[in-house]
Structure formats: C-alpha cells, structure tokens
C-alpha cells in the first residue's frame, strides 16, 4: 500500500489521529522551548553540521583510527558489508558463547537488518528492553517512531497486551502500574542474559570509545550484567574527537524530547575485567549513499526523531504509513536510497514545508533532498503511466490552478460542469473542498482593458 492509502486509513480514527498529532506536537513544542533557552543553539547546529561534513569527507581514515584505538582497548571489531553479514557475525558471537537468549536495547540499525527474526529463526530468544520496544515486540509490530516506538498505541492497547503477556490486572491502564510490571519482567531477563546487544549513538575516532544514550538505563542494565556486549554501529556514527561529544550531547536530547540530556550517557572504552565488547561496523548501503552527492548529507543523521515530531504529515499519518524502517522525513530520504521502487511514494509524502530542515540538529537539508529524490524517481520510472510519478504529474492538472496557459477553456468548463461532477469522487480536489468561483475575466483581460 502506498503512503496516501495508509495515511487515509490512519485518519479514519479521527480521535486517535488527533491525539497522535497533538502528542507529537507537544514534544516538538518542548523542543522549541528548550532550544530557545540556549543562546548558541543555531551555532551548535552549524558546528554539528560542520563536524559531520568533516567526518563524511574523511570517513575511511576515521574508521581506521577508530578501529585501531578500539582494538588497543581490547574491543573486538567486525566489519559487515550488508545486513546478512551483520546478522551472521552477531549469530556467530552468540554461538561461540552458547547463548540462547539475549537482551537488546534500542537500535534502529538492528531493525534495519531485521536481526530479531533472523536470531529467532536460529533459536535465540530476543528480548527488546526499551519499554516501548518491548510493547511493540509483544504485539509483533515494528517501532512506529525511532525515539518513541509505541507512540501509535493507547494505554488501553498496552494494558490488554500486558494482561495477556505479563498477567497484569485486566483493565488496569495506569502507566505507572504497567511500567512497573514491565520492570519486574525485564529485571529477570537482564539477570539471565549472557549477551547484551546495543546500538551506538556516537563512536569516537580519537579514543576508540562509543557512547550510548538512554533514559531508562536499559542498555546499561543489559551490558553490565552480561558477559558479552555486542554494539551494532553504522559506519556513519563516527565523530572525530571526544570534545565533539559536547556539541552532540547538547543537541541530541533537546532535539529528541525537549530534555537537556538523556539520564544515562554511557561511554564504553574497554571491557570490564573478564568481559568482552564487540563492535560490528555496518555498511549496508551507506557507502553508496555517501557516493550520491545530493543525498550524502542524510548520513549526518543522529536519529533524534525531531523531524518526525515536527512533520505535519507524520503527525497525522503515523509511522507505519511510510512502510520503511526509519519513517518520517529522514526516512523518506534514506529509504529511496535503499530501494527506490519500493519507497517511491515517500518523497511525495510531503508538502516541502521545510520544517524538518529547520529542526534538524545537524542541519540536513531534508526537504531539499525530498525534492531531489522526486527528480530521480521520475527519471527512473520513465513514462510508465501506472507509476506514482505519472499519477502525480497527472495530479498537477487536477489541481485547478496548474493547467497552464489554456486556462480559459478550463474556466469555461468549470462553469458548465454540473456540481455532481465537480464534487464527485472523480474530482479529488472537489471531494472535500469547494472550487474557487470563476471570475468574469482573467487578469490579462482586465489589464488589456485598463492599462495598455
């Protein structure tokens, strides 16, 4: 199903979609407020963008430096060219440690690699430990937002699934009660897991350390109790210097949820005595994206989710309407790079309002890249009349203003057409909107009479 179809489905439950819009708007509003409490906010965004520019133009040397430093700190480094290799590496580490159950904290990268189903097929129980992720895992759903994975659910939904899976009281929808039930359930999983998997927010080339940020503390609960920590990291997560963290940690949580910092910001540099740390460095299309001059800036993304919270489309259509691992504006510029055909409707799921670009803490020109993807998609699809771009091109002529110069004929038609046609389903514009009244004369005609 394309984005428009899924979006209109989401809008059918108007109370829920209104709640979704208002809740995410509230998060965006908190971000706006806190960002304005930092006088140097715009300068920080510029610095973050410049640091990432530097990274993207020296990525190979930073990766080599990162590897060297990490190895010197007794960290094992693995390289994976694609999702399949990534998953095999993770599995082989688990097999070496005879591990049949793991705990995992939030990692969009492992979603991208579809690691959970792969491990489950190979007999490994995977427990997502971020509360939101555990909820969607119980429901067999992917996250609908990269920072707020269960934002599409109401507490009633969560109460029902917890009653089924965790035997909580039927009908008890109190968030504190439900959260504490999850705490007890997950505490047992943390204590029992030999291997813990996390994502990575930042990898520091200078020191070989990597940083993981959470509010729940679930990443740390997992890794400090396990014998082995596997950190799955996209190659673009590198930053050059430790002090660059000062810039990024000031921006990340403020952009994501409007809080000054996440409550836990863990810097892993070497394993504790008797334990192991593995880092899997993943390409999976990133080097290809780096080679696309117009789109490489998308690799600056620090996964804060601010573009989702601000996007008037995302807020009203939900994460699933995008049908891609990373939804929202940033997803709409990353996903076409992975599979242009599958994701061809996403760059059109935007009014190009530009709000995403203005909230982005690393100044990715998201809406301009959406525009550029549109140009690519129409080239790729040629003149196939069924293609989305052709529908959109045809759509131009369905919008009353855009029928170019032969408008007089069109104006005539508007007058003659019976209301039933103008306002039927055939005319998409007129379905829920009146058409403008047709004036007696065009401006051109007026000008000829009055000014020349």
């Amino acid at each position: 199903m394309s984005h428009p179809a899924k979006a209109s489905e989401f809008l059918e439950d108007s109370a829920k979609s209104k709640w979704h819009d208002e809740t995410l708007w509230f998060v965006r509003d908190k971000r706006d407020t806190i960002s304005k409490s930092i006088p140097e906010w715009e300068q920080l965004r510029e610095l973050a963008s410049q640091i990432k520019d530097n990274v993207l133009s020296n990525l190979d040397s930073y990766l080599v430096e990162f590897e060297k430093k990490a190895k010197a700190n007794n960290i094992h480094i693995h390289w994976a060219k694609d999702a399949e290799e990534h998953n095999q590496i993770v599995l082989s580490i688990l097999q070496q440690h005879r591990c049949k159950a793991i705990v995992k904290s939030k990692s969009i990268l492992t979603e991208e690699c579809h690691l959970n189903p792969f491990l489950e097929e190979n007999g490994v129980e995977v427990v997502d430990t971020d509360l939101g992720e555990r909820i969607v895992q119980f429901l067999n759903q992917p996250p609908s937002h990269i920072v707020l994975p269960a934002i599409h659910l109401k507490k009633r939904d969560i109460s029902e699934i917890f009653h089924e899976k965790l035997q909580t009281e039927k009908g008890n929808e109190d968030p504190t009660y439900l959260t504490h039930a999850a705490r007890v359930h997950l505490r047992e999983k943390f204590l029992g897991a030999k291997v813990a998997i996390t994502g990575v927010n930042f990898g520091v080339a200078e020191t070989g350390e990597f940083v993981v940020c959470t509010n729940e503390g679930n990443a740390d609960m997992g890794v400090h109790l396990a014998d082995v920590h596997i950190a799955c990291m996209g190659i673009e997560k590198i930053i050059p210097r430790r002090k660059d963290l000062g810039v990024f940690l000031r921006l990340l949580a403020r952009s994501a949820t409007g809080q000054p910092i996440t409550n836990y910001n863990s810097h892993f540099r070497s394993p504790a005595q008797g334990k192991q740390i593995h880092i899997v460095l993943l390409d999976n299309g990133r080097t290809t994206q780096l080679g696309r001059e117009k789109f490489k800036n998308s690799l600056k993304c620090i996964r804060c989710g601010a573009c989702m919270n601000t996007c008037p489309i995302y807020r009203r259509s939900g994460g699933y309407s995008y049908g891609s691992v990373v939804p929202g504006p940033i997803g709409s510029i990353l996903s076409p790079g992975l599979d242009l055909k599958k994701h061809s409707s996403l760059p059109f799921a935007s009014t190009l309002c530009g709000s995403c670009t203005d909230v982005c803490p690393v100044k990715i020109n998201i809406h301009e890249q959406l525009y550029e993807w549109r140009q690519e998609i129409t080239k790729d699809q040629g003149t196939n009349a069924k293609s989305i771009s052709m529908k959109i091109a045809n759509g131009i002529f369905a919008v009353p203003f855009a029928y170019k110069v032969s408008g007089a004929i069109m104006r005539g038609a508007l007058k003659i057409l019976p209301d039933s046609i103008t306002y039927s389903g055939l005319n998409t514009w007129g379905k829920q909107r009146d058409l403008p009244e047709t004036p007696k004369e065009t401006f051109k005609e007026w000008y000829k009479k009055n000014r020349s």
């Binding site: 610095l47 959260t179 109790l225 810039v247 000054p260």
Partner: protein, 188 residues
C-alpha cells in the same frame, strides 16, 4: 577482499572535497552554577539534598542493604561490594562519589573508579551521589575539557533516575534502573 577492505576501498573511491574540522568555542555561561545545577537535577526528576536529609532518608526507610563507596562521611554501608554484579540485584541504596557536575543539564560524571561495578548505579533501587559543589562546571564543553584524555574503561554522564514515557507519553520514574536519584552537594 575482506568486507573491511572493500568498505574502506569504496569510501576511498568517492571523490570528496575535504572539509575542515571546526574548533568548538567554550560558550561560557554567566550563571550561578549551584542554582542552575539544582534546577537541572530537579528537571530530570532527581533531588538535591544535604547530609542530614540523607541520614533521614536512610533511617525513615529502614534500608538494610546499602553499599557506600563514597568515602565521604562515616561509612553508611551495610554491604560490601560483591565480586559478581548479579549479586547486586537486591541492593536498596548505593552511595557513590561523583567527579563533577554540569550545571546546564545536571549530568554527573562517573567512571569505573567511582562505581566499583559498572552495574551498580543502574541496578540499585535508589542512587545517592555525593558531589563537591566546587566541582561544578557550566556546560558540556567545559565538561569534556575537564575530562580531557582521562583513560577510563567506562565513563558515564548520569543526570537523573531511570525514567520512561513510552506509555502515552506519561512520565514514569523507575523503568529499569534506580527509582530515585539524590545528589548530596557538599562544600568541604
């Protein structure tokens, strides 16, 4: 070719214009560090208390499983640090020393030497951090300047108790880790 070499080769083959790495200004803040820090901790749902309040907290709740690594007051601990982190599972209170605090966001820097076992500040039911008021810095730039090249296997900016808002954005404290954070600001 290994995946490592092919990834690196692929990157090398992309023609790029080298972009310089910017210097980072210190963005000094003219604020009262202590007041700002206390506000930040409150905002993160922690509390700033004094030593008397700490004693009161321990007494009222009649905690019996306390680990005190802070070496700041008389030893308030009832338990020694175990060998295995799993044995921390029912610790009620951990008292540790923080290295310094950051006024703009309430983050407190901790490393292996403060935590004993890395799991401690997470797994304990309640966390108490003892922090010298004079250690406060204004923002994260000053914080990383202070950390410099400090070589610790594990470093942590901890800014509050474990929290989540994953159920309808309702804030709940005590998701997995500590259900409370209390910071004892000292001026010794």
């Amino acid at each position: 070719m290994s995946s490592r070499d092919s990834i690196l080769a692929k990157i090398k083959a992309i023609p790029t214009e080298k972009k310089p790495l910017p210097e980072i200004p210190d963005f000094e803040l003219n604020i009262n560090l202590k007041e700002a820090f206390i506000q930040s901790i409150k905002g993160n749902k922690g509390e700033v208390i004094d030593q008397a309040q700490l004693n009161e907290f321990l007494e009222i709740n009649r905690f019996t499983k306390i680990i005190d690594l802070s070496k700041s007051f008389q030893d308030l601990g009832t338990l020694d640090l175990p060998q295995d982190a799993h044995d921390l599972a029912d610790v009620e209170v951990a008292i540790i020393k923080g290295q310094f605090g950051v006024a703009e966001n309430g983050a407190i820097w901790l490393t292996d030497e403060n935590m004993g076992l890395r799991a401690l500040p997470f797994i304990t039911e309640h966390l108490v951090i003892v922090l010298d008021e004079k250690s406060l810095v204004d923002n994260m730039h000053a914080a990383y300047y202070k950390i410099g090249n400090q070589p610790s296997g594990f470093g942590l900016f901890l800014a509050g108790p474990s929290k989540t808002a994953d159920i309808e954005q309702s804030l709940v404290i005590g998701a997995h880790g500590a259900k409370s954070l209390q910071v004892v600001l000292t001026n010794l």
